[in-house]
């Protein structure tokens, strides 16, 4: 049984149907990437999984249907969503954002240890612990969003373009961190990313989403060898 099972999921904004029945799975401890052009519905798919958008179809996490559940209860089950546009709590400080990341946890020591670890991993955040999150630069906020998500020790991480606005060096570090986290803590990830080269390196499998439908899927290796995909997403 997969950790996340999405079967024939559709979603719409008012009259506009955006997802036309997509199916995908993420196994425990697995990293899966979703590629797709602008407006393909990637964000919508992640939002549907985390309960922010009403959807039809089947949606199971850890064998239990989570379709129609509140986002907060889905989060409590161990799904952490780093939304596109970061979702930083702009009026709160960096530190408060980080502590809220651990909102569903109760282990004080564990939280303190994680806090230290992520500040270590993202030094710009450590430097700005007491800065209001909303005043930080775009890239800094993006780091915060990812680090905050990790604070919850999720079982599944939904990442919506985590490298958006990050400097090349930081992007690289971020993907290294994600790889480490995945390896050492066994956190599964569903990753939407435009930096397809890095994403396919990290991921074991991938899907290609076009106009609300999955048009290709396979192992990361197979996908990166596909000519069309290379042309559209990799440029090599």
């Amino acid at each position: 049984m997969s950790l996340l099972e999405v079967v024939d999921l559709s979603a719409a904004y008012g009259p506009i149907q955006v997802l036309h029945g997509i199916s995908l799975t993420v196994d425990a401890g697995e990293v899966v990437v979703v590629l797709g052009a602008n407006g393909a519905g990637k964000t919508t798919a992640l939002r549907a999984i985390s309960g922010l958008v009403a959807a039809k179809g089947e949606l199971r996490f850890d064998g239990v249907s989570i379709l129609g559940r509140h986002p907060e209860s889905i989060a409590h089950r161990g799904v952490s969503h780093v939304p596109q546009g970061r979702g930083t709590l702009a009026g709160l400080t960096v530190d408060e954002n980080m502590r809220l990341g651990a909102y569903s946890r109760r282990d004080r020591e564990g939280i303190a240890a994680d806090l230290a670890e992520w500040y270590d991993t993202f030094p710009p955040l450590a430097k700005r612990r007491s800065q209001t999150a909303g005043t930080m630069s775009g890239g800094e906020q993006q780091m915060l969003a990812v680090a905050r998500s990790l604070m919850s020790r999720p079982r599944l991480l939904l990442l919506d373009e985590p490298s958006l606005g990050l400097a090349p060096l930081v992007t690289k570090q971020l993907f290294e961190t994600l790889a480490t986290v995945n390896r050492e803590r066994g956190i599964a990830m569903l990753l939407v990313e435009q930096n397809a080269a890095l994403a396919l390196e990290l991921a074991a499998r991938g899907y290609v989403l076009e106009a609300g439908e999955i048009v290709a899927s396979g192992t990361a290796e197979n996908l990166s060898r596909d000519g069309e995909i290379r042309k559209a997403y990799l440029g090599r």
């Binding site: 904004y13 590629l35 797709g36 052009a37 602008n38 407006g39 596109q84 546009g85 710009p124 700005r128 800065q131 005043t135 930080m136 630069s137 775009g138 890239g139 800094e140 993006q142 780091m143 373009e161 958006l164 606005g165 990050l166 400097a167 090349p168 060096l169 930081v170 992007t171 690289k172 570090q173 435009q194 397809a196 042309k231 559209a232 997403y233 990799l234 440029g235």
Partner: protein, 254 residues
């Protein structure tokens, strides 16, 4: 004389030095890229140029004219247009209206002439709509003119911002991470578009971007910022070989 001269600009927020005696110039007609680590101060510089922020020190001259003494709304009239890192469109307006309002600085006439719908008004509206549609077409957005400028895909919104900035017929265009969130092929297309509009409108472009392939392919010159200061400057190739830039920004291999 350079078109844009940034001279000793310094700005602090509380204890954080966002810009620290920054100095560089942009020549007329070039595409100059401004790169640097997150938090280096790139967006802050844009904000200073467009007078959203007021730096504590230094001067910013555009075409020889000091911008820092102008009120924000005069900057557009002086010939500077910009886009925003975090989208800043007007969601209540349609895509076309967003572009039409972009031409605000070129027009005149206030509430009274509008309210009475004086003869010139209708003519002006038709002209603005026509010009706006042309711009949309150029950025392949023409099919979206009547849509509200909200809830469209991210990359599309970024392009609408470019169209809106162009509507004021600027001489200097400041683009803040226009390629963010675009797929590879979309980035390539964007690169072409930027060059095209630079040539067609005889623009100067100052581009902030983390997408190095784009920077490498279209910029005439690159200025690297770190901690609010200029770290390096030169052609894209030269800069990308610079060990300091690699250490601070690019990482070991590219």
């Amino acid at each position: 004389m350079a078109l844009l001269e940034v001279d000793g600009v310094g700005l602090e927020f509380g204890g954080i030095r966002a810009l620290d005696d920054l100095e560089f110039t942009v020549e007329a007609g070039e595409i100059c890229a401004l790169i640097g680590p997150n938090g280096a101060g790139k967006t802050t510089l844009f904000n200073c140029v467009s007078r959203v922020y007021t730096p504590q020190r230094g001067s910013i001259r555009f075409d020889g004219r000091e911008l820092l003494t102008l009120p924000p709304h005069r900057v557009a009239r002086a010939g500077v247009g910009r886009t925003f890192q975090n989208l800043a469109l007007f969601p209540a307006l349609t895509v076309l209206q967003n572009v039409m309002v972009g031409a605000y600085s070129r027009g005149r006439g206030g509430a009274w002439s509008d309210a009475l719908r004086l003869p010139g008004v209708a003519r002006r509206e038709r002209r603005l709509a026509r010009e706006g549609s042309e711009l949309l077409e150029r950025l392949s957005l023409d099919h979206l003119g009547d849509q509200p400028a909200s809830d469209l895909p991210y990359g599309t919104l970024k392009r609408i911002e470019i169209a809106r900035a162009l509507a004021s017929q600027p001489r200097l265009l400041l683009l803040d991470e226009p390629a963010a969130g675009l797929t590879h092929s979309e980035v390539e297309e964007l690169g072409g578009t930027i060059r095209q509009i630079r040539d067609d409108f005889e623009l100067t472009v100052l581009l902030v971007e983390h997408h190095m392939p784009l920077v490498m392919s279209i910029s005439d010159r690159v200025v690297v910022l770190d901690l609010g200061r200029k770290l390096a400057e030169g052609t894209a190739d030269a800069v990308s070989q610079d060990p300091q830039v690699i250490a601070a920004y690019l990482g070991a291999e590219l």
